[in-house]
Subunit: 122 residues, 2 copies
C-alpha cells in the first residue's frame, strides 16, 4: 500500500461512484496513468469493483458496497438499488444455465418514473 494507493482508495470511498478521471481530479499530484493502474490493482485484489453506468467511462466503487445500479438513460440519474433486486434473475440463470451472475457488474437501463411521467422531451 503506497501513498498513491491510499489516496485512490480514500477518493473512491468519498466519491462513492467515481470514474478514473474524477478520481484523478480528487487526488492531485497522482498521475492519471497511476490512477488507472491503481484502480485495476485494487479491483484485482477485491477492494474495488466497477460497472458501466452509461456510454462513457466506467464507475468505480468499494467492492464491499454491494448494490446494483438502475440508470435512466433519459436524465442519466443513477439509482442504487439493493443487491437483492438481482436475486431472482441470479437464481434463474444459475438453475437454468449454471451461469453465475456477477452482481458487482450489474446495471440495468431504462426510463425513471420522473422521466416517464413528464414524457414530453425525447
Amino acid at each position: 500500500m503506497t501513498p498513491q494507493r491510499e489516496s485512490v482508495m480514500a477518493a473512491v470511498t468519498q466519491l462513492v461512484h467515481a470514474t478514473p478521471d474524477q478520481v484523478a481530479d480528487a487526488v492531485p499530484g497522482v498521475d492519471l496513468t497511476t490512477v488507472y493502474r491503481t484502480l485495476e490493482t485494487l479491483e484485482h485484489i477485491g477492494l474495488l469493483a466497477h460497472t458501466h453506468l452509461g456510454h462513457g467511462a466506467p464507475s468505480y466503487r468499494l467492492a464491499a458496497d454491494d448494490h446494483v445500479h438502475v440508470v435512466c438513460h433519459r436524465c442519466s440519474s443513477v439509482i442504487d438499488a439493493p443487491a437483492g433486486l438481482a436475486d431472482q434473475l441470479s437464481r434463474q440463470l444459475a438453475e437454468e444455465r449454471g451461469f453465475i451472475l456477477d452482481r458487482s457488474h450489474f446495471t440495468v437501463f431504462g426510463t425513471c418514473a420522473d422521466c416517464a411521467a413528464g414524457s414530453s422531451h425525447d
Copy 2:
C-alpha cells in the same frame, strides 16, 4: 433509404450482432463515419437496437430480434436468452419504482457454466 443504409441493414441482419467496425468491414466502400451515422439513424427509427457486450464497442442488432444478453467475462461468450428472462425484474422495477426497464439494452455479466467448471485460469 439510401443504398448505404440498405447495405448497413443487410450487414447487421447477417451478422446478428455487430460493432460499427464489423459493419464497416462488411460494407466495403461505405465510410466508417457513414456507418456510425446510419446505425444511429436506423436505431432512432426503431429498426436497430444496440447494447454493450463488454468493454469495447457497442453491438448492434435488429430491434425486432427481442432477446437479452448474458455475457461471460471470462471467455467472452455471449448467450442470447429469451427476453422473458428480464420479466420478473422488469415487473419489480415498475411496481416498486415506476421504472420502465429497457430490455433492448439489457445485458448481464458473469461466469458461464463452462468457465465455472474448469475454473483453473484467472
